[in-house]
């Protein structure tokens, strides 16, 4: 069985499978990643995330028209009715509008006691009544959301905390199952992915709501999945393959898992596109965040975590089965 082919002192084929020299480009990839991270942080710092209603608090009303309306006219009708500063955008189709009402409306709704007459009025009904009077066809109330500012603040804190907590637990698990160098690599890859997805949302100023936060956390899960599979193979090869440099072993491992990495990314992307195109407006940004996350996560499982392993100088000794350590300890007097 011809196991290994070597050309110019490099392994080009291992166990009958072509070995791509991924790590030859690792400096370039590192530069690319750093550039992307810097760009993302810059976008986050300058534009900031455009937090959705869940996080900022506010009032929005979604209405469906029988006859497609003119946005400007609708805005005018709302201003005439006393909703100064209302914004109106199309939502999904020409017949559906999303109306965001000014903060005073939210304050009135959420900060007067429930006994108060002001708090018990239904803002959605009022808006629809105004719009109905001005439209030839029927206007249908599809959705109303009123979120008090206090809720949003808490969610932001909880979301951030949750993300940090998830990273910490994952780091602990990987350190336990593998080795600390792997856990640094894995967490670096996760942070890389999260920053890039957030940067993408900041750059394009897309609404960042609760579902997108869920998507970002799911990206952590997905990217981790990828990274673990690669790490698992690297560990296996370090123990199995003799007479090879760390770089070669990593190349071999990445090449072996490449097929699987691409397959899984593809199937996941397939279903995400289904969500993106057929899932409706409400989860549009959710699936977009996941699409970006899966793409970035696939890249990072190849180039970020393996890169960090190289940088930390991973060696065979790091991956000796832990059983031996215990045995040595027992032998000590």
């Amino acid at each position: 069985m011809s196991e290994t082919k070597v050309e110019d002192g490099k392994i080009t084929e291992y166990m009958g499978k072509r070995v791509f020299s991924f790590m030859r480009w690792r400096k370039l990839a590192a530069a690319l990643s750093i550039l992307a991270i810097v760009a993302s942080i810059a976008a986050l710092a300058m534009n900031g995330l455009k937090f959705g209603l869940d996080f900022t608090g506010g009032t929005q009303v979604e209405v469906g028209y029988e006859i497609a309306p003119q946005i400007e006219e609708v805005r005018g009708q709302l201003v005439d009715a006393g909703y100064e500063g209302a914004t109106v955008v199309r939502f999904g189709s020409d017949n559906e509008l999303l109306i965001k009402l000014p903060p005073e409306v939210t304050e009135k709704q959420t900060q007067t006691s429930a006994r108060d007459e002001d708090a018990t009025q239904s803002i959605g009904d009022k808006v629809v009544t105004v719009l109905r009077q001005n439209s030839d066809g029927d206007v249908d109330l599809r959705r109303v959301e009123v979120v008090g500012p206090q809720i949003g603040e808490e969610l932001r804190d909880d979301g951030g905390l949750g993300m940090l907590f998830a990273l910490a637990v994952v780091m602990g698990y990987v350190a336990l199952r593998f080795q600390y160098k792997f856990s640094i690599g894995a967490v670096a890859a996760l942070i890389h992915d999260v920053i890039l997805v957030l940067g993408f949302f900041a750059l394009l100023q897309l609404d960042f709501d609760l579902t997108v936060l869920a998507a970002v956390l799911a990206v952590i899960g997905y990217s981790l999945n990828d990274t673990i599979v690669v790490a698992d193979r690297i560990r296996e090869n370090f123990r199995k393959v003799r007479k090879a440099e760390s770089e070669e072993i990593i190349d071999i491992s990445l090449s072996q898992t490449l097929g699987r990495t691409l397959m899984t990314s593809l199937t996941t992307l397939l279903v995400l596109f289904a969500l993106q195109f057929f899932g409706g407006e409400l989860i549009h940004n959710f699936s977009l965040a996941l699409v970006v996350g899966v793409l970035v996560g696939t890249y990072s499982s190849i180039y970020v975590s393996a890169n960090i392993l190289m940088a930390l100088g991973i060696t065979k000794e790091d991956l000796m089965p832990p059983v031996k350590e215990g045995a040595e300890l027992e032998e000590m007097p």
């Binding site: 006691s113 009904d125 999945n225």
Partner: protein, 622 residues
């Protein structure tokens, strides 16, 4: 090689069969229905009610079928959703508003043998079913303040009685009582009095010279108890009020330290819902009228309790209201020295003052407690353009729940004795509490999902699952052929199991939950992809087919477990920190991970073993 023992096949078969069984109820579309129940839970709802409702529907020409008499309610199924509102209206009109609640409902069409096995369909979240969601915040600071205000009055009284002359007793920062004294002697006397009378207060000394202070606060634990009490009390009150709305399956739940979630599926009239939820003060305390009181100054009320009404009928009470229910902060069942049941009532500070003023010169007279129930009856109003709109007209029904002799001047705390049984005391305490919100509430979040949007969401959700699934199935088949087929069968089984587990757990399906299912479909094949690429690798290394299959499954196993456990960790954290939509997503994702591990590892292996196991295989179709 590659053969499973027969018990393993059996195990898989049983699990899959159970999966199909418990997922099955989701295939049966529920019928639109109206549900009739009694205003009070004690009421008997029987055949006669059903017949009356059916007659009303016949008269209005509304098609119905399958009337059922349940334990507490009657259910009538209708042909179409559009008929629900008119049906509700005609039945309510024919039965009258005072005794019956008619609500819209969806009646399960799950066959009886399935229902007997405990199988039921998944619940649909508001974003799929339509309805309103409120998040209420209980203003717990207020209850602490009113409680402390009450203490200020009590402390003053006790200090006066103990002859510990104070310069002032005040409330600072809404939560600390500060009593000031001129001399150390007075202060010592005050401290010992307060320690004895109010053991629950934490007392410290401060100040110097002739400005000596005693500071008293409630311990953190007491404050928390007060807050807990306020929230639970508001919760109970809300439940009662929501029942008035006649919603089929309302959710009223505590969330976190001081919030309450109210979800009313199918309700569209938010203004009405908010009015009922937010209303207060449905108790009134009044003195019994003297025989010589002028008719213009008194009113006649009936007893609320059936037995009392038959025994005494009712009583004349003064028109003047002493206090209303919003002054009641607590009502609890207790027992007196001889073990007889009583109800201990606590009022807030202002309520105590008013009660004292009204009762100190009326010892020996009787005081009545009125319970007010609001009923909303639809009324058709015609506006100037001739359009008919239905508005809800409110009527209050007031009935006596207690009429007791005033034994002495009453204050902030008093008790009602002379009750016949513990059960009566229990009910009275409940009614007294139900009358009031312990602390004010705010609507901090309000979401309304129209029925059309809900239906649209279900449609897009189902469509994206179908398309995503189809894409993955085709893809896997093209790439892995026979093995792809096995993976596809496992994937389909995985979906069935996921739905079954969610149905069994009674989990609620939401739109993000559907997104979680779609994502699971994409990621569930990962385990198979891992295994198959291992098998291909081993084949390339020249391993014979059977050994390659076995090695592929074995080698991939630990990778799959590691990768899934980490994803599961993330999903669990998502559930813990998230609310609403995030949790829905986390639930489907975690269940999906678990079921996919079963179906992708055991299920696929079983199929592959069936195809290839124990045979001479030259070439694998992979």
């Amino acid at each position: 090689m590659n053969r499973y023992p027969i018990w393993k096949y059996l195990l898989i078969l049983i699990v899959v069969a159970l999966g199909f069984l418990y997922a099955a109820p989701n295939l049966y579309k529920p019928d639109p229905a109206v549900q009739i129940s009694g205003q009070s839970s004690a009421m008997e709802i029987g055949e006669s009610v059903l017949e009356e409702a059916q007659e009303a529907l016949d008269e209005a020409g509304i098609e119905y079928f399958g009337g059922e008499v349940g334990e507490k309610a009657v259910l009538l199924r209708l042909d179409s959703v559009e008929d629900q509102l008119p049906a509700k209206r005609v039945i309510q009109e024919s039965l009258g508003h005072s005794d019956y609640v008619v609500a819209l409902n969806l009646a399960s069409t799950t066959p009886e043998w399935l229902a007997d096995l405990g199988a039921s369909p998944m619940k649909l979240g508001l974003d799929l079913a339509g309805g309103v969601h409120f998040l209420m915040e209980v203003d717990t600071a207020t209850i602490v303040r009113t409680n402390m205000e009450g203490y200020v009055q009590d402390v003053k009284a006790k200090l006066r009685a103990a002859d510990a002359r104070y310069r002032s007793v005040q409330l600072e920062d809404d939560r600390e009582i500060v009593a000031r004294f001129r001399t150390g002697e007075l202060r010592n006397k005050a401290v010992s009095t307060m320690r004895k009378e109010f053991p629950e207060l934490q007392i410290t000394e401060a100040g110097r010279g002739d400005n000596l202070e005693v500071r008293a606060t409630l311990s953190e634990q007491e404050v928390k108890q007060l807050e807990d009490y306020a929230v639970t009390q508001n919760l109970t009150t809300l439940r009662n009020r929501v029942n008035e709305l006649g919603v089929a399956e309302p959710i009223v739940q505590r969330q976190g330290r001081n919030r309450i979630v109210v979800e009313l599926p199918g309700v569209q009239d938010t203004a009405e819902a908010k009015r009922i939820i937010g209303k207060t003060a449905n108790l009134e305390y009044r003195m019994e009228a003297r025989p010589d009181t002028l008719v213009t100054n008194k009113e006649y009320f009936e007893y609320r309790n059936e037995q009392q009404r038959q025994a005494y009928g009712g009583a004349w009470l003064e028109r003047k209201v002493i206090i209303k229910g919003d002054r009641v902060t607590n009502a609890r069942v207790g027992y007196d020295e001889s073990g007889l049941p009583q109800v201990n009532i606590t009022l807030d500070a202002r309520g105590g003052e008013l009660m004292h003023r009204a009762t100190w010169k009326n010892v020996g007279r009787r005081m009545g407690t009125l319970f007010i129930e609001s009923r909303f009856e639809p009324e058709t109003v015609v506006d100037d353009q001739g359009n008919e709109t239905v508005v809800q007209k409110r009527t209050d029904v007031k009935k006596i729940i207690s009429l007791a002799t005033v034994q002495s001047a009453l204050g902030r705390q008093f008790r009602i004795t002379g009750l016949d049984s513990a059960a009566e005391a229990q009910e009275l305490a409940l009614l007294l509490r139900a009358g009031a919100l312990a602390a004010p509430m705010y609507f901090v979040e309000e979401r309304v999902i129209g029925p059309s949007l809900g239906a649209d969401n279900i449609q897009v959700g189902v469509k994206s699952v179908q398309i995503g699934l189809l894409a993955v199935l085709v893809f896997m088949l093209l790439f892995y052929r026979v093995f792809g087929l096995a993976a596809n069968i496992a994937l389909a089984v995985n979906l069935v199991l996921l739905v079954a587990v969610m149905s069994i757990l009674g989990a609620t399906l939401t739109l993000p939950g559907i997104a979680g299912i779609v994502l699971t479909v994409g990621m569930a094949v990962d385990a198979n992809v891992l295994i198959f690429s291992r098998i291909r690798e081993e084949l390339r290394n020249g391993m014979p087919p059977q050994t390659a299959i076995s090695a592929g499954f074995d080698n991939a196993y630990s990778t799959i477990v590691d990768a899934n456990i980490t994803t599961l960790i993330v999903a669990v954290i998502l559930y813990a920190i998230g609310s609403g939509p995030v949790q829905g997503f986390a639930v489907t994702l975690s269940i999906g991970i678990l079921t996919s591990m079963f179906s992708a590892i055991m299920g696929t292996r079983a199929l592959i073993n069936l195809f290839y196991g124990g045979r001479r295989v030259q070439k694998l179709w992979i």
